[in-house]
Symmetry: C2
Subunit: 459 residues, 2 copies
Amino acid sequence: MFSPEVYRQRRKALASTLSGGIAVFPGNRESPMNYPANAYPFRQDSSFLYYFGIQQPDLAGIIDIDEGTETIFGNEPGMHEIIWIGSGRSLKETCGDAGIDTLKPSDSFQETLKGSLKGGRKVHLLPPYREEHRALFAALSDAALELTVSQELIRAVAAQRSVKQAEEIEEQEKALGITRHMHLAAMKTARPGLFEYEVFAAVQNEAAAAGGRLGFPAICTVKGQTLHNLSYNNQLKAGDLLILDGGGETAERYTGDITRVTPVGGTFSEKQKEIYQIVLKGKEEATALIKPGIPYRDVHLHAAKVMAEGLKSAGLMKGNTDDAVEQGAHALFFPHGFGHLLGLDVHDMESLGEDFVGYDTEIERDSQFGLAYLRLGRRLKENWVVTAEPGIYFIPELIDQWQAKNHLADFIHYEKLDEYRSFGGIRLEDNILVTAEGYRVLGEPIPITISEVEAAAST
Amino acid sequence: MFSPEVYRQRRKALASTLSGGIAVFPGNRESPMNYPANAYPFRQDSSFLYYFGIQQPDLAGIIDIDEGTETIFGNEPGMHEIIWIGSGRSLKETCGDAGIDTLKPSDSFQETLKGSLKGGRKVHLLPPYREEHRALFAALSDAALELTVSQELIRAVAAQRSVKQAEEIEEQEKALGITRHMHLAAMKTARPGLFEYEVFAAVQNEAAAAGGRLGFPAICTVKGQTLHNLSYNNQLKAGDLLILDGGGETAERYTGDITRVTPVGGTFSEKQKEIYQIVLKGKEEATALIKPGIPYRDVHLHAAKVMAEGLKSAGLMKGNTDDAVEQGAHALFFPHGFGHLLGLDVHDMESLGEDFVGYDTEIERDSQFGLAYLRLGRRLKENWVVTAEPGIYFIPELIDQWQAKNHLADFIHYEKLDEYRSFGGIRLEDNILVTAEGYRVLGEPIPITISEVEAAAST
């Protein structure tokens, strides 16, 4: 945990932006795998973590704006918990670590909410994203008193959590230190004959040996054309491209989110090099635009144009680049967004609703295929942390679908695509801090040029 | 997956024992960590897995006893799923792997249930253990039609899943092969100066590199007196005992469940040896009783007596052993049960209710401290797989609680206990198949005698 003052200040800052009522943060419970006592490793809700910092299940926090009070609801461990889970410190002491003086028993939490609702007070809650939270909403709602999500709280939390504090940026760098070792391990491990799960094991081991875990289930596959492929059962063969999109999480639950691509066998083919350079150029030239005030949608579209130009040189696209990108032809190859906010969540605050977090009244989400998947479109601000992650993929089913309709055929050399059906995909991703002047790539450098990656793969 | 015939036979066997109606198996959904799209690694419900074998979220299966039909409810992937999650095979084909011909869309599942309820048919459902299942019960229940858990189905499923088939025993052996490597890794890794998470990393790596994962969050700690300690933050020092209670899971989701204790620094002290031998003797002599027909409660109590005898020799207990165990004095040191069923769940079928699975009308759960935690008390049957896992622990808070009341002081040398307050705990666990004649310890041997463990720790 950070110092109690960090959490106190955050709560104070939040309270000062809300019009009144109570802001309610239900912490997470354990998530059962196959029965209640066999739970997944506990993950606290990120907003609870941000304002209260305590990584224990079955807690809730309330900030009473009108009264100026702050309360945690939870129970002290009894002998059963001491025998089975361990004594550790009292919950009262742990609350002190979060700068909270008032601890009330769990069963008074719902009563407090009901009382506030009945008293006609504003009850601010964030959107539920786990069934346990939905159950809370259901339990508290009846015909007379409907509990609804508070857009005022969503906007206030999103505004606050988007701007990273110094101690958060430090955590982000720490996470990237672990993440760097994960990627070096993958580059070193990816050898013909191994299975993806063996590379994944080496990657996960770096996070575990650093005392943490993965911030999200890593993508570690030679079938990179599937954007979110989470199976690890393919065997690596020489000439494959192994894509690793993974990040290590710190004890405070900040995560890295880095993607690199390793040639299985140690060297890229000429064909692979050509596409790789296009993605790298797209990433670098679009990243160079990052500074406060620029819409991230523009950064995304710039990457799309740079890569469309490259794909024209490679003989895969044709026609006017601006027109191609305006009509979304590049999305056949680059069907996802350039990046998203990063922090306590790998897609930071996605649970609050992407349209609140990544868009605003000035820049609304587009409905065009590809651009619609851009998670962050609005103007950047200083001290936001974002990912920069363009990619080029050859997705046979998507190619077939478009080609059957001759979709955007003015911009795509469909006849050339046959040679690329088994190419897979390439994505390159870094984590970027928006600074007052521009940007800074976070973390120590991780091999990314072709020669750097080939060197790392052969050590 | 096993062959389609395996699943067909299992469903047929189940249907033949039910009086009528429909047996409903809602599969699991993804479990969100910090937002819906960032989910924990998917774990299918074990009963769904047993009867339908498919490891995908958002499915449900219905066996219609009256009509003799079998249906899976789920949706084929669209282009969005192909781009993001991968194409793979059609769901229709996958259903074929489970011997199921009828696939219906997901949204007809609740309608089918409602129709059956309204038609006055018996709707058999197992107890919900995830909020998503509770939500299903809630959605289907109203004042007129209350959906309830089917005790008939619980008993039928428990009876069937308890008796392991040949292919299940083979999976169990496979799981123990991975588990063995995990324990050898821990013995080899546990060195003074390392942190528990570094040992845990080496353990987890063995499961991951074999293409699997842990069947349950491993206990890997030098604070073994906390029975279910899941934090890994202590530093190992010479003289500590590192307890590893862990198991690898196969692709079919059978898990090993083995506990071993390694002396940090490579050799046990004389004091540690004495307690270790008592636990080992308790395990061996009680295990020797295992055969069809013996109540597992008797096996548990025999282990308690053997260990109470040993604790008497060590000067920690006193008085008549039978009386001591009858009054539960041993539970100060051995507060948990001797073992449980093992299979698709590490506590097999715990979600169905331990009292249905581990007890019956002949042998009911005891309320005495310690014995109350015994998960399996009933008479054993051929082809059950059980764990044998006695332990001795020195839990300072529990000692203080008992000593303050002078509880069972006729049997406990409280004055001697002071020397043991920082001892920690020792548990030794194997997985046992009940055979027609007696029992067989499953898996290749894992070092367990003092000399074997010391040898493994020094390699």
